[in-house]
Amino acid sequence: MIIFTYDKTFEGLLTCLFDAYAGKVFPDVLQEETSLLPLFYDGVYSIVSDPTKAERVWKGLQKKLSPTALTMLSASWLADGFPERDMLLFRVMHKAIDAPKTIELNFGDADVLQLSRIYKQVRYERMRVIQFVRFQKSADETYFAAFEPQHNVLPLTIDHFQNRFAGQKWLIYDMNRQYGYYYDLKSVSEITITDKGTPLLKGILDDQSMAEDERLFQKLWKTYFKAIAIKERTNPRKHRQDMPVRYWKYLIEKQ
């Protein structure tokens, strides 16, 4: 068993590929530098992230794969909760480079199929952020939204929000991963809230911290949400399926 250790970044993963080809040794296991090695193994290589090497691997992949497939690779990197994720990405890229023609549509290949599954989940989660983000207008006229996405997908949603809400200041915050994006009417920047006492970190604003008309529109929205349902057709199962309970925490209409 061959082990590569690396820094758990996407750049590091691409460097692993580069070094594997350079040394003609391919890993069976990828693991973070800091984690413990197993009892038995045939060789361990510690890989040092290198932007130039990573760049060259990515360029090589660009020749082999469509832009969609490349997005699939980089977006799947943001998936959480798949211990096999890194090795899977490695294998797919390895196969892509070796294969004479593109492998991206070969869903008969278990790795390609698995990757497409993971990518699908990431896309779903991105969509859910876009669907379920609820902005609350704060006293300083910033539209604030808290979210707890399952995968680390906020970066994938920023283009959408920037395009749609170009005329208002906004802040979207990942409460679990403790970072977010702030748009100040000109550009978007990544931020981390350091002031632990701020009402923002509660996720839902209180009366003091919200704009004057915010409560009114929240009320109107809740009224609308109730009124629009046809009572004869109440369907809690479908309701939960489409809008899973784990998102309710910051949904105004579910407060």
Partner: protein, 412 residues
């Protein structure tokens, strides 16, 4: 607001798809990639993507199937144009909605009402609102107003409601097929003319870029599914007609003896009609294959695609590794997506049932209708159609799926 949202909710159209509208510099909103985003889901399971509301639920007409008919003693309310504009913009800024779906009861006369609807859309656009706007055109509105509406709205709709002229006359004496099909024609012509114009001047404003839609009420009158689907199919012949919606009749005016006394809206039937509609639009079925004189009503027990397959065992089993795309689409358990995946994947080698499952084929259904490399055990040819039907029915009945059919949504 509560009154006007409650009055609007029986209108089923939740679709906000079909347009890409870019944000103008610093303005508010865009309409993305032709996919309507559901921002929330109501407790009846329906997608909320638009603020669906009425300008007023006052109405001078007396349509038997409508909660807002003038002879009903219900609370009435009217929103002003500016209230509607503010509400839409504020909801949009908070990411509650994709846009506005505005309809109205008839106030004074059709044009008077239509003018107000148009004003809302116009004011929204003049405040750089680029979200989605769907206006319901008032039956009998003049050509000028319909044309103006088309300049601001992404979609216009005129509801047919009752799929047969006599039945319509009986239930909605103030309306006629003419007052409905005329505006539809205006919209259609407007779109075509606009297309010509835009060929000449690329900057010409767009006219209802998301086309038009309509709705029919199901189960309030004696029409068969054949009547309904033939009308839909005729409507779809016009390329500007994007969607026909079917709405199971909810007995809101149970005192009216012209209407059937339904305990429950015919939800299963509504669902089957949507599935049939789907088959016409995405599965290349002709309407007469789905319903015809010998088979005027859809089978409520099984979906119309399975129903067709059971009536036509001679087409099966289909060889997954050879059959063309059109035939794959006809196999129960294979959807548009999996059919496409099959066609792409089989270039790399023959597909096995294991791979089919992974691709997303519902093997429980498909197994009786296909052969692949190792599978052909018992197909519909060896078993009889009745047996296959029974095999496919039993587990579903147990789960009680038929009590709670799910509402359809727009495919991507």
């Amino acid at each position: 607001m509560k009154i006007l949202a409650e009055s609007a909710k029986y209108d089923v159209s939740c679709s906000s798809s079909g347009t890409v509208r870019r944000n103008t510099n610093g303005g508010l909103g865009n309409t993305v990639g032709g996919i309507g985003i559901c921002h929330s889901f109501a407790e009846d399971g329906r997608c909320i993507s638009l603020l669906k509301i009425m300008l007023t639920n006052n109405c001078m007409y007396d349509c038997a199937y409508c909660i807002n008919r003038r002879s009903n003693d219900i609370p009435r309310a009217t929103l002003s144009v500016s209230e509607l504009v503010t509400l839409t913009i504020e909801f949009y800024r908070r990411n509650y909605i994709e846009g506005l779906f505005l309809s109205s009861g008839v106030l004074r006369n059709p044009d008077y009402t239509m003018e107000r609807l148009v004003k809302v859309a116009k004011d929204l656009r003049s405040q750089y609102f680029n979200g989605y706007i769907h206006l319901k055109s008032i039956p009998g509105a003049s050509r000028e107003l319909v044309t103006e509406a088309g300049l601001y709205a992404d979609r216009l709709s005129v509801n047919i409601e009752i799929p047969n002229e006599q039945s319509l006359k009986l239930l909605a004496p103030e309306k006629s097929f003419d007052s409905i099909f005329q505006p539809m024609k205006f919209i259609h012509q407007g779109i075509l003319e606009n297309g010509e114009e835009r060929k000449k001047f690329r900057g010409a404003p767009r006219f209802v870029p998301a086309g038009q839609s309509t709705q029919m009420i199901v189960g309030a009158t004696p029409e068969t599914d054949q009547d309904i689907l033939y009308l839909s199919s005729a409507l779809y012949k016009r390329p500007t007609m994007r969607r026909v919606y079917y709405s199971g009749y909810v007995a809101v005016n149970s005192y009216d003896t012209r209407l059937p006394a339904l305990q429950q809206p015919p939800l299963v039937r509504e669902n089957r009609l949507y599935q049939a509609d789907w088959l016409m639009r995405f599965y290349q079925f002709k309407v007469e294959e789905i319903v015809n004189d010998a088979f005027p009503n859809l089978d409520l027990d099984v979906d119309p695609k399975l129903s067709w397959a059971l009536r036509h065992p001679e087409f099966f089993p289909v060889d997954i590794n050879r059959a063309d795309y059109e035939m794959l689409l006809r196999v129960p358990g294979i959807g548009v997506k999996s059919a496409k995946l099959i066609v792409m994947s089989r270039q790399y080698g023959a597909l096995t049932s294991f791979q089919l499952k992974k691709i997303g084929v519902v093997m429980k259904k498909a197994q009786y209708f296909i052969t692949c490399r190792e599978l052909p055990i018992m197909s519909i040819q060896e078993l009889k159609p009745e047996i296959v039907k029974n095999l496919l029915l039993t587990p579903k009945h147990k789960k009680g799926i038929f009590n709670q059919p799910e509402l359809p949504f727009d495919p991507i």
